[in-house]
Symmetry: none
Subunit: 204 residues, 4 copies
DNA sequence: TATGAATGAGTCTTCATTCAT
DNA sequence: TATGAATGAAGACTCATTCAT
């Protein structure tokens, strides 16, 4: 009973924080406002969270790590799969399933990801996008070098990684409906895969 | 003599402001700090500039408008050129010259553009990128509808515009050397043009 | 115990504010000074009060509204009483009791009223005197038109209202002792009532 | 020629100052604004006027002193006249001519007097009204004591002086047209004179 | 758990005034 | 005469954070 109430206060704070951070960004967001919105006192906030950054982290950290793990696993499996191919023509250009999975995951925490993308300035998360770019960028040489007769162009690898991540970000930011997002993502991804093949892969 | 000194103070303020805005973003940038860095009193800043936003604008507005005008002219000319084509195969995939010109212009005010891209939150410029996306997005239907037998896919037009602008932004943000930037931009642009042709143009 | 101390700080702020506002007027009054006088930090003031105007209002609003209600009731009763008269000669020229009552009320918040009269420039209260003039001015036609054979001169009504209110204001401003104020007010009021009868009432 | 231009600047400053002081009051009036309105630089203002207070004085001091002198002369003559009376019934209740004269004078500098009445807070002129009250208050005993068998009630003398001055002030503040002002003032003055006779004069 | 009073450094901005030119 | 750059103190107000209770 008591616990319910207490738990609720924490939840209320997090919901209020989401709103405030989203509306004003990390810096301009006011803890006072958040407390007021949540109908809670300043002190209470500091019972549940260490400080402003911690409050932000609480909203954002879980989903972000989840996505990182998902991606890491994806890249691992991708590497294993491709290393079994022996011809360029056998590459699977259709990545709809993976794309759908990512969208599925991200959209179940869309609030948090929107926060990460739009309201994380002056936070340790402000460059989190770069991490994803880097993960993608790093994975491609491993994948490609697994193929006979091919090596990857470092620079193009970087830029394709950027474009790919940006494509996801654009979808996440501007399309609210999950199914719609999946649908829109697929053709874009097909185009991007062609980019990887044409620009990044170089015949030795 | 005197004039030199006076002129210098304004310049010093602008230089200090660039540094501070870049380092902390618009919001967190402190006018006190800027004045201190410039070796000037608070009042002096308010002699030269109306307020914080005006100081930021002074750094950023000129270059931004210049680019807008450059782009507007480009799109106009592009439309005229293409409308004379009568076959898809005649489309010029090489946009190196235009690309070089944009890079050339942007890099002559790179400080300002970096500020616009990284430090314009809570400024009237915070969505300036969207304007460029929109300009590009809007220009493509006009260009394509000028070609016999083709029409443009609205959604893909939007996403290609996004990717194209993002590509430029990535270069501007991460490559310091102008010539290097030009060199890197060319193949990316070629790839992007292919995207426009493949994804956006639809046979009627 | 604790409560005493906390309560005191708010009180201290209000007392310091009264002093400062009185001495310098609303505009020139400095919140810093007020806090210093009260031995409190700037933030504390903003915990208790929303802003400068709110601090002023806190001192002044209650007493002012009280007086308005008192007057409203007085005018209502006055109207009822007089409407029962049928001859000018029956008008009661002695308003000592009402006068005493108003003085009594006002002097129990004299600080606040002095503030309203001398230090409310640039405040929403700066024209509060006019409101009282208007109340008085509006009430007289109602009263007079209730009497057979008489109507009121609009212009004289306005000026008598002004003089009447001014008479009270002069007393409040310059006489510190409540009993003294009552005593001084009475003959003045008698004279003023004669003015109402002679100048404002017109035989139809 | 040159002098014309220079003279004009001073005039422009004074006109701009009148506007600004009237609109914002002495404190809130900004010298910068005044200079801007006048199309003149800050330095120029300080060539013509010593400082803010001096600028205000320049607008207000002449008319104010003129009125003081007018009043002083009036009181002197009044004293001489009345001292020749030997009966209360011979007192002239009609002061229209004097009233008209004061109104005439005041309205030829109405801007300045409005400034004195509404915008002189924190100025050495902020209590100038009191001076007039005092002049009037002081003159009446002299006048009355010149009459056989009468003496004046000090307190009532003070309050009648207040009411009389207030009556003028109300007219000046709220009636724009000079002739209208004269007309409105006359009956009020008649009433006030009766007050002086009834309340202030006491049979020995 | 939670309160809420209090901190104090910090924010942007405005101002009357000065002074070398 | 007049400029206009520069001063520097002061203005109201906000903030994340702390702590005795």
């Amino acid at each position: 009973m008591k616990q319910d109430v207490e738990y609720k206060k924490r939840e209320l704070l997090i919901e209020a924080a989401k709103e405030e951070f989203l509306e004003k960004g990390y810096n301009k967001a006011s803890l006072r406002n958040i407390c007021a919105k949540a109908g809670v006192t300043t002190g209470a906030l500091y019972f549940f969270f260490k400080n402003k950054e911690d409050l932000f982290a609480e909203i954002v950290d879980g989903p972000l790590n989840g996505l990182k793990m998902l991606l890491a696993r994806h890249f691992r499996e991708d590497g294993e799969q491709i290393s079994e191919l022996d011809s360029l023509s056998n590459i699977d250009l259709d990545h709809s399933d993976e794309s759908d999975m990512f969208i599925e995951y991200i959209y179940s925490y869309r609030d948090s990801f929107i926060l990460l993308l739009n309201a994380a300035e002056n936070t340790k998360y402000e460059n989190c996008v770069d991490e994803f770019v880097e993960m993608l960028e790093m994975s491609s040489p491993m994948v490609i070098s697994g193929m006979k007769g091919y090596t990857s162009d470092a620079y193009m690898s970087h830029w394709m990684a950027h474009l790919t991540i940006d494509a996801f970000i654009n979808v996440i930011k501007h399309i609210e409906d999950k199914q719609e997002a999946k649908r829109k993502m697929r053709p874009i991804l097909t185009y991007l895969v062609k980019g990887w093949v044409e620009l990044v892969m170089v015949r030795e």
